[in-house]
Symmetry: C2
Subunit: 182 residues, 2 copies
């Protein structure tokens, strides 16, 4: 578990391919050979990182949606949870999930796709409710994809030293998509 967290940060910062099993061992204070007692291959570590990133974000989102009451509050939760997971203190894992797909073997992909689809289904459901309430435009399938793209991209430019907190950024991004209320 400590290894998975450390691996997430290394994979995010250097990329999966550039990170060696020796780097991974160093990060947790063991020799590279010892890793292979816990994992059969380096790729297994990558898959574990990705699975952690998406499942923990999904669980947080589920909880936030259940606690929110109005469609508007649920909609806000999408942005808030996703950005906090992506930009927050301890979540390099989700970023690895987004940027290291090409290094996942065909055999391991289906399992991760199931996890991703589960997460996106939550989004779809909340967006549909919001559209029904007249909060956002009606093309929710395309909206889901564009919004997730917008949020994912934030890792490329958001800096925590800047003027905006993550929660504030979530609010601003929400504003961009809300329809003017009549």
């Amino acid at each position: 578990m400590e290894l998975i967290r450390a691996a997430a940060m290394l994979f995010r910062d250097q990329g999966y391919e550039r990170t060696t099993v020796r780097d991974l061992g160093n990060a947790v204070g063991i020799q590279s050979g010892s890793l292979f007692y816990h994992f059969r291959t380096k790729e297994e570590i990558l898959v574990a990182v990705m699975a952690l990133g998406i499942t923990s974000t999904t669980e947080q989102l589920k909880r936030a949606i259940d606690e929110a009451i109005t469609p508007r509050a649920k909609l806000a939760a999408l942005f808030r949870v996703h950005l906090n997971s992506l930009l927050g203190d301890n979540q390099a894992a989700l970023e690895v999930m987004l940027y290291e797909w090409r290094s996942v073997s065909a055999a391991a992909r289906p399992g991760l796709i199931v996890l991703r689809d589960r997460y996106e289904a939550l989004w779809q459901q909340v967006l549909d409710e919001a559209a029904a309430a007249g909060l956002i435009k009606r093309d929710t399938a395309l909206l889901r994809r564009t919004l997730l793209g917008s949020l994912h991209w934030s890792v490329q430019w958001y800096r925590s030293e800047g003027a905006l907190s993550v929660d504030q950024l979530a609010e601003h991004m929400l504003d961009l998509v809300l329809l003017p209320q009549t």
Copy 2:
């Protein structure tokens, strides 16, 4: 030039690190050693791919903006050119630009950043005009970042075999951001 195009596709499909100089040689029918007559390092090839991706897109965008007359038409051009460059027949290069930053050495980054900033400045200018004309919301700096994120992400899910052409997709994405006209 033929090499740069071939390299773009290989880097996009397999990633830069997983693509060997032997792969690159194979793709253009020469031995791997011969590559180093044209480029000093493998990284130089990566930088050339990225530079091609962003500069050719910038030029296309410049032309499209000049030909467009209304703010609305210029705005549409942003979406159309970007998506065609990203999803079109021969433009793996731009995708490499987006996904292989980590493999670019610190020495080579500044040059690419200049090219990227030039492209984004075009965007900013068109968005500002559109906001002044009341077409889109006023927070154009954030809008630029979210829109570019949305467009970039399309490579992850857009399939040309699907129902939507690239130009149609551009139209739909434009619709999502346009304000209802009073």
